[in-house]
Structures are given as structure tokens and as C-alpha cells.
């Protein structure tokens, strides 16, 4: 068989090693690269005049959002519509959850209406893993408490891959509320799997104790960290998950760990700035940086749709 056709056939056989997307922890580097290659194709699709493909026309997807979301929910919904899937949306407010129904019961009831795939956001860490053990369906984790947010990590890494070609040996500084952020954990997993060097930065009180187990170094001085890094990944303070006071004042936090244009100019090198949103302007990122065009935040949002299309397309092929 000749070379080109052979390569093509080899590609044809490529599949994800998993049947659910519960977290970056559970997928391999090959899975990540397959998702990226497929995302490249879908990015081309969503930039066409007619952005829809019929691939998932006989697939029904339920979006279960037990926690607030703007970007992720819209992004998933758009991705599903671009793939021609049928969708049902559910939010916990106004549902039978209020009457005392359990998570597994709620989902099993929805699945008995012949739903093929479930996208779930939940405030409890591990909710999607629990669900995958208890219901017979394809589960995509759209954020579970302070555990993981795999599609966000995939789109962050995809955006950086577009910038750099490869993340191998790139230096990435993740700054902010590492302890309560699911994005931080998923990002650490994906960046490490793709060969990048990761440091975390922020108030010591917001750095989890297990951070050394992840082979990630802690940098207490934000300015030193900025000089070291190629990418500054800025995170929001997750006030909704905090039960204690972790730093004296927002103003003090912003002075020490907030990124403004003056600070950016002082490091005297070009770095890429990412933020998963929503941004608290003037806290972790100053408006002058956001509006300067030096961030890739909107690229991340655009790539989110393509990456989520790729994830659902590849998982639907395994149904």
C-alpha cells in the first residue's frame, strides 16, 4: 500500500482511549493531540460562511448545569448546534432537585428519554466521576467544583499550541486562586502532559498543600515569576468557594499579584497572557492590559467552540 494512503488509513483508525471526558488526568497525550488535530478541522468549519456540519444529527445531548455558567454553557451549546446534535438544556433552579431527587436519579430519568451524551457542570468535586460510575451514558465534565474543567484546559492548551506550535519546554506561570480553581488543576495536568514547565504563583494561603506532588514549583514573587515565564495564565479569585478569609484585602492582592500594563512593561519581554474568564477587572488583570490587545482571551473563547466540537465528535464516534 502506498505511503499516503497508508498514513490516511492509520489516521482513520485513531480513536480516543476513553469513553467519557471526566478530567485531563484520565486522558493520554495521544488523546490530547487527536483532540487538537480534530479541533483544527472544526476551527476551519466554524470560520466558514455556513458553519454547520451534519455529523451528530442522530445524537441527543443533555446539558446539565447545576452551577452558573455563561461561556461554557454557550460554547457547548453552539458546538452542539454546529454539529447538528439535538439538545436539551437543564438547570438546577426550578427543577426536581429542589424536591430532593438525587443526582443519579435525575440523570437516569433524563437518559431514559433516550439521551446519548451528558454534559454536566456541578459544584461538587468528583460529581462527573460519580455519575460515570452510576449511569450508563457518555459523560463530559464541564467543571466539577474545584476538581477539573477539562474542556477549558484543552482550549487553553490549543490556543497556546496555535501560538507556539508546541508547548514542549515552554514556561507557564499560573497565578491566582490555585486552591479553589478547577481550571488550575486541569491546566497543570495538560501543560505537564504536553511537556511544559509549570509554576504556580499567588498568596501562600491559596496554594494547596499537594502542589509539590504534581511536580509543580511555587513562586511567591509575581515579578520574578513573570520574568521567568513565556505564558502568564491569570486566574480569578473564586470568592463563591471560599469559606474563610485567605488574604487581607482585594487591594493588597491586586498590588502583589494583579497584572497591569506597567508591570508588564517592566519585564521587558513578550509573554502570552491567558485568562479563562470571567475576569474581575482591576483584581487579577487590569483593564489597561485586557484592552491593550496583549492577551489571547478572545482567541480562547473562539477556540472553545472548536475544541468542544472535537471532543463531542470523537466521543460520539465511540457510542
Amino acid at each position: 500500500m502506498e505511503r499516503m494512503q497508508y498514513i490516511y488509513l492509520k489516521k482513520m483508525g485513531k480513536k480516543l482511549s476513553v469513553s467519557n471526558l471526566l478530567g485531563i488526568k484520565y486522558i493520554s497525550e495521544n488523546d490530547i493531540n487527536l483532540i487538537f488535530e480534530t479541533s483544527d478541522n472544526f476551527k476551519e468549519v466554524i470560520n466558514r460562511k455556513i458553519k454547520k456540519v451534519p455529523s451528530l444529527r442522530d445524537i441527543t445531548i443533555a446539558n446539565l448545569f447545576f452551577e452558573n455558567s455563561t461561556r461554557t454553557k454557550i460554547s457547548f451549546e453552539l458546538a452542539q448546534k454546529r454539529l447538528s446534535a439535538d439538545i436539551v438544556n437543564f438547570s438546577s433552579s426550578g427543577s426536581s432537585i429542589k424536591k430532593g431527587e438525587t443526582l443519579a436519579d435525575t440523570v437516569n430519568n433524563i437518559l431514559s428519554m433516550k439521551v446519548d451524551m451528558v454534559v454536566m457542570r456541578h459544584p461538587s468535586p468528583g460529581a462527573s466521576v460519580f455519575l460515570s460510575n452510576n449511569v450508563d451514558s457518555c459523560i463530559i465534565n464541564a467543571g466539577d467544583g474545584c476538581h477539573e474543567h477539562p474542556t477549558q484546559a484543552l482550549l487553553d492548551a490549543f490556543t497556546l499550541r496555535e501560538r507556539f506550535g508546541s508547548l514542549s519546554n515552554k514556561k507557564i506561570l499560573i497565578t491566582g486562586d490555585i486552591m479553589h480553581s478547577r481550571v488550575a488543576l486541569s491546566n497543570i495536568f495538560i501543560y505537564k502532559k504536553l511537556g511544559a514547565e509549570v509554576k504556580v504563583c499567588g498568596p501562600k494561603s491559596l496554594i494547596p498543600k499537594y502542589i509539590n506532588d504534581l511536580d509543580v514549583a511555587y513562586e511567591s514573587n509575581f515579578d520574578v515569576g513573570l520574568k521567568w515565564c513565556d505564558v502568564a495564565s491569570m486566574l480569578r479569585i473564586q470568592n463563591e468557594r471560599m469559606r474563610d478569609s485567605f488574604f487581607p484585602t482585594t487591594r493588597e492582592y491586586s498590588t502583589q499579584f494583579g497584572l497591569d500594563l506597567q508591570r508588564l512593561k517592566s519585564i521587558d519581554k513578550e509573554i502570552v497572557i491567558t485568562h479563562p474568564g470571567p475576569i474581575n477587572r482591576g483584581v487579577e488583570l487590569n483593564s489597561d492590559v485586557i484592552d491593550s490587545g496583549k492577551t489571547v482571551i478572545l482567541d480562547q473563547v473562539e477556540n472553545g467552540v472548536a475544541v468542544r466540537m472535537a471532543v463531542m465528535y470523537l466521543l460520539a464516534a465511540k457510542l
Partner: protein
Amino acid sequence: MSVLNNKKILNASKLSLILNRLASQLFEKHDDFSDVVLIGLQPRGTILSKKLKKLIQKNYSINNVDIGFLDVTFFRDDFGRGDKILHANKTAIDFIVEDKTVILIDDVLYTGRSIRAALSAIQSFGRPRKVELLTLIDRRFSRHLPIQPDYCGIQVDSINNQRLTVKWSEFDGEDAVYIFKKDGKKT
């Protein structure tokens, strides 16, 4: 399925004759190629489409033929059914096909399902005035759908456990078309 076990049905000189004939048929029908675009289907139709563009340029001095490459993976009707084609190739069409004559180009026409998918996929780039189909090889008794080529290099009467492969010197070391049995036996 080594090359030695294959039966060569077209050699380089015959292939060259056929390509020149196809180019002249396109020229005969479309004259100056205004409002005509060539769309090569990924993966193998793209090579053929580039060769035809070159020949049209060389033989008839027409330099402005638009060419694009279309991948139909996401438009296939066999997604999730058995042996799936999952991995897409690059689609590169940097013009709209609205009101143009589109010539879909592929190397082998077999069941017709790829062409059906291409007919859907091309609509994402506008509404063509007309769509024509050019294939190098037409396996005429293997069709699943009522699709026939407008321009055809050679018709091959093959049975379902046979495969055809088109080789190009730039990629495979020679210009040739082989036929072989799926289990590798010579036909």
C-alpha cells in the same frame, strides 16, 4: 499487499495520456475557465486536481483557474457505523462557489457516498450554478447511489473484494494504477 502482488492496469504513459485527455475535455467544455472552479476531494483527489490545473496551464495557457480542496469527513453518512472514518483532512477553499461551476475531482469513484457527502459539503461555500464530477477511475458496477461522472479517465469492472490504488511518482515512486484483492492475492 505488496506491490509485487498487484496487477498494474495503467502505466505511466497511459496515465499521462488520460490526464491530457481529461484536461482537454475540461478545456473543450469550459473554454477560458471563467466562473469555473476545481475542487479536489481529500485526500487523493487533491493530487489529481493539482495535476489537471498544471496541465490546463501548460497545454492551454490558462493561468487563473481557481482550485480548492474539500474534506467531506464531517458530512459522511456512515459516522458511528462500523469502520468509521474519524480523522478529517484540511479543507482549503478560499473563495465562494456561489453561482460558479464546480468540478469535483476524485481519483476513484466507487460507491458514490463520498461524492454525495461532497455535494452536501460544498454547499457550505455557497450555491454553485452547476456541479460536475471528474474521476480518474470509475468502478461502474459498485455504485450505492445514482451518481455518475461527467468526465472519466477509465472505467474498471471490478468486484467488491478488489481494491484499486492510484500511485503518483511524487509520493509513491511511480505513476500507475494497480488492482489487487483485499486479502492481498493477485487478481
